[in-house]
Assembly symmetry: C2
Homo-oligomer: 191 residues x 2
Amino acid sequence: MSASAKRVVWELPAWIEAELDLTRALRSDEEKMRLAIEVARRNIDRGGGPFGAAIVNGETGAVLSVGANWVVPQRSSLLHAEIAAIAFAQVALESYSLASGAYELIASSEPCIQCLGATVWSGVRRLVCGAGVAAAEAIGFDEGPRRDDWVSQLETRGIGVRLGVLASEAEAVLAEYGKRGKPVYAVTRIP
Amino acid sequence: MSASAKRVVWELPAWIEAELDLTRALRSDEEKMRLAIEVARRNIDRGGGPFGAAIVNGETGAVLSVGANWVVPQRSSLLHAEIAAIAFAQVALESYSLASGAYELIASSEPCIQCLGATVWSGVRRLVCGAGVAAAEAIGFDEGPRRDDWVSQLETRGIGVRLGVLASEAEAVLAEYGKRGKPVYAVTRIP
C-alpha cells in the first residue's frame, strides 16, 4: 500500500472568506441560494466545477459552512459542493451530526446520488436546491441512479425538500460552464 | 462562519498498517474480501463502525488503500468505509480518478446510497460486496433510498458488480456489532 496515503486533507480555498460576506444572516431561501450560486459562479474561474453549496442555520440565518465542487483542484471525486459543505460544517461543530441545530443544506443544483445519500446521513433538516437536473445533464453531468421518488424518500426521513429556488440564475452558471468547455470529469459515463 | 473550519483532515489510523499485511497481492475476490472483513472486525474494537473496504488493483492484486467506517471516531457522517477507501486511494494516486488502473472497490457490506454514488464517480471498474443489505438493516442501519435496479445501473456505467462474497463471515461482524449495542448513529431514521 502506498506510504503516501496516510491523510486526506481538504482545504477551504482562501477566496471563500476573502471575497464572500459570510457573516450576514440569510433569512429567505432566496438569500441563501444567492450565496450558493455566487460560490458556484466564482468557483468556475478557479478551476472548480459549477456547483456551490452552503449549510445555514434555518433559525438564526447564520452560515455554518460553504462548499463548492473541488473535484479537479483538490483531486477527489468525492468533493462535490454538498459533500464539502457537510464536511466543513461537521468540522466546525466537531460532530458527525448536524442534527443539533436547525441546519439546512443549500445546493445550487439538485444533488447527484452520492450527495443525496450524504444529505440523509448528515443530520440536516432541509435541502434547498436551485438548478434542475436537466440543466446539469445538458452540459454532460450525470446525476447517477437516483430514485424517481427521491424527494419523498428524504421527506420520509424527516428532511424537508424545496426545489427550483432561483433556478434560472443557478442554471445560468451551468450554461456558462458548458460554454467554456470545462471538464466534466467523465470518469464513468453512460455509453 | 466558524473560523475553525478551514480544513477537513481524515487520518488513516496507525493500527491499519501496524496490524494488517497490506503488501501481499490479493488474487481472488475471497482473498480481497477477507481483508475488508478483517478491517471491519478490528474496527469495532476501536470505536468504529462494522464496515471495512479496500481498493485493490484487479490486475496485480496490490492493495491501494483500505478504509473503515470512522463516522464516530473521526466525526464525519461522510466517513463510511467505501468513502474512506476511495479518498485514501485518490490521495495515493494524486488523482480524482481511479480509472487509470483496473481498480476494484471491495466492501464488507453492500453500499448505502451515498457510497453507491461515490462508487460511480470514483473511477473503479468493479464493486465486490460481502454482507447483504438485510444483515445491516437487522442491526438498525438504513441503506437509504437506493433503486431496486442499482446493480444494473452500475453495470450500465461500466462498473462490474459481484454480491455475496463471504457473506456469512461479513454478516457475522455486523451481528457481533449489534450484540454489543454499539451506536448506529441514527441521525435520520425512518419512523
